[in-house]
């Protein structure tokens, strides 16, 4: 037994050190760092009135100064808790972490895009959950996974994150290693070793809005709204636009998207929907890449947000 331990223990220790170093590496672990940076902003102060949640599409046009101006509070009282690529799965974990830390805000603002309702394959979704979700909430998360097509896969991805720090950051690790081995690669010229013509640009991500495809995110959205009701006195759910707004083929999906979010308001008096997908940015020129806003789009959406908030009826808790 001891003879076996003599080689098993050092090998596993070496693996643990390698795994730990890879997952904490500054460039290799950028998805992880994105969560850590957000958490640093939480810890900067305990005197916040407003919290902004969601991904970059919620925050890159609505910095704390702008959000504070609309809400009538100084920028220093606004917590920018957004995380890059933080969809419903991540926000769910983030809100539960904030609740576990005993935080409370006057106002919570959370923005959501249409495509987010379908997407949860990216490994960083589970990494974000693993990093923020309190351990006591794991059974509840697993019950959420039952709404996915492959619950076992998602449970094991979560367990994998618990076991290996590098596991969910493999894409970033591969990119960093690739850069070291092969130099900095130019994505726009990558095709030239195969053919002269560049491939057509990838269409922006979207969501079919089929019931099976959105079941998990729908369940998460409901859970987030309940949790936000405990985290803040009033909650504003922003329905964000993207470049598919004018696409007739996506009209049905957009109708379902708005209806889903509208249905969340029922039985949640603290929740208000701020629909920024009408009368605002919609054309290609309003977006950088299909869902992140261009400077012109930012100007339009800021004005629209201010207008919608002026028109909004005050939240009355029953």
């Amino acid at each position: 037994m001891i003879r076996h331990l003599l080689y098993i223990a050092p090998t596993l220790a070496a693996l643990w050190f390698l795994d730990d170093a890879l997952s904490k590496h500054r460039t290799a672990g950028w998805e992880r760092n994105s969560v850590i940076n957000s958490q640093k902003r939480w810890n900067a102060s305990s005197e916040f009135d407003v919290v902004l949640l969601g991904s970059s599409t919620s925050a890159d046009w609505l910095p704390p100064a702008e959000l504070g101006r609309v809400m009538g509070v100084p920028a220093t009282r606004v917590l920018d808790a957004h995380i890059n690529g933080c969809h419903q799965d991540c926000t769910y974990a983030e809100v539960r972490r904030l609740l576990a830390e005993g935080r409370h805000f006057k106002t919570a603002v959370f923005g959501t895009n249409l495509f987010q309702l379908c997407e949860f394959d990216n490994s960083k979704r589970v990494l974000q959950q693993h990093m923020m979700l309190p351990k006591s909430d794991i059974p509840h998360l697993f019950s959420m996974y039952l709404h996915t097509a492959q619950p076992l896969r998602n449970m094991m991805r979560f367990i994998g994150n618990e076991l290996s720090g590098a596991y969910a950051d493999t894409q970033a690790i591969q990119d960093a290693l690739g850069q070291k081995l092969f130099g900095k690669r130019n994505g726009s010229q990558k095709h030239r070793w195969v053919r002269r013509q560049a491939p057509p640009p990838k269409p922006p991500p979207t969501c079919s809005y089929e019931p099976d495809a959105i079941a998990y995110k729908k369940a998460l959205s409901e859970a987030i709204m309940d949790d936000l009701g405990r985290l803040a006195d009033e909650v504003y759910l922003l329905v964000l636009p993207d470049v598919t707004l004018d696409d007739p083929a996506r009209a049905e999906a957009w109708a379902r998207h708005r209806a889903l979010h509208q249905s969340l308001v029922e039985s949640r008096p603290y929740l208000k929907i701020v629909d920024l997908s009408r009368d605002g940015a919609h054309a290609k020129k309003h977006f950088r890449d299909g869902f992140h806003l261009s400077p012109e789009g930012i100007r339009i959406q800021r004005a629209l947000f201010a207008k919608r908030m002026r028109e909004a009826e005050p939240v009355v808790r029953q």
Binding site: H4, T11, L12, L152, N186, V194
Partner: protein, 486 residues
Amino acid sequence: MIFTTPEFVLFALLFFAAWAALRGRARQWLLLGASYYFYGCWSWKFLTLLVGSTFLDYYVGRALERTDDPTKRKRLITISLIGNLGALGFFKYFNFFIDSAVTLIERMGFHADVHVLQIVLPVGISFYTFQTLSYALDVYRRQMKASHSLLDFALYVAFFPQLVAGPIERATHLLPQMVRLGREKLPVDWSGFAIIALGVFKKVVIADNIAPLVDMVYSDPDTAYAPAVWLATYAFAVQIYCDFSGYSDIAIGVSRLFGIELMQNFKAPYGADGPSDFWRRWHISLSTWLRDYLYIPLGGNRGGTWFIQRNLMLTMLLGGLWHGAAWNFVLWGFYQGLLLVLFRPRWLDGVRERLEAPRITRPVVVFLRRLAFFHLVCFGWALFRAENMHDCGVILQKMVDFTQWNVSGWLTEVAASGEGRYLAFTFAVVAGVVLLQMVWRAGTNELATRLWRAPAPLRFATLVALTYAGILFAPEQPPPFIYFQF
């Protein structure tokens, strides 16, 4: 459920925990339940097809055993053939034949308004159909006795490690092991871990990372540079080997942990000296199946040259069609048959012996022969990978038309793309895999055996490193095993 996904790890952990707690018949029931669950993860609906196939051949086998009347026996084997091949034909080839007929009619100037059915191909149907069919044929030929236990037979058909992508086992080999499983505790062969680790490495680290490079070229070969087509074809040769043999390795490794030995399916195929040798090394379970149940019944090597050549061509054409319902697979089968026919004449052996006679130059001649044959195999892979017949033509033209090669111009483009070092690295990996097979000519089984016999610290560290590499270098969206589509 795919072997290289996290849910399979959970499935395997839960399964082996229950397995360790049970004995005898209970283990068999557990294995059958797990196998049906494994298959049901793809489609519970098609599980009925698998169960139906099991019942059909089990009762055909029992009935064959009970009668000596040749007419009745023929009738029974016909029922099995119609049942198995009928299901395979309907699910796999129905639309292909309808589409082909419509194309032919329209080329003749007639209008054909035919609505094809939306038929989904049940995963693994080609594999388990051949397996059940071989059982019925063996009982019919009195090469084995019929199974007297539906549970044993159901396990032989549905044994989950090899259910969806082989190796295509024979009842004479696997069924007795299933019988023993219910009666005694089979000794676990722990070397299965070494084969699993090597299989995962081949699939996840090599095949899955090569796949995007191949896809870039083969998705639109019309606009691709000829040297890029060559590079992608070499890469595909290694991708398909690592993908398919990786699956077989994991299947063999997992089975060893039950104490069950599956047949070897690959043995360094790119180290082959010629087409016959290649088929003794590539997808061995299919090539031996085709030999025993198609080539030999057609007449095999008996009869005149033309008769043998006809048998070879027919066998390989059907072997090609087995892979998929598309004309490029038929063409690939034809090409493989043609290679077997062209390499058959005895005088070629004389030439080879003369070339290899000088001792000093023999290794070089042998190596060059294998290298030349590898290139012939690559032409075949180009046909196999092409997405349609038009692409087949374009790819082959680019590969053989020297005027299109312009390597210096291509290298300038490679430099401009910034992908030079990445391509050089990928090419080195591809060349390494091929050269290793040409020189060593041993399969993963032998490599795993050597690894398992290494000193314990080295063995453990290598297994950990291989597994960790499989975790670290897995693509974000791992592609399924190529052979699942067949």
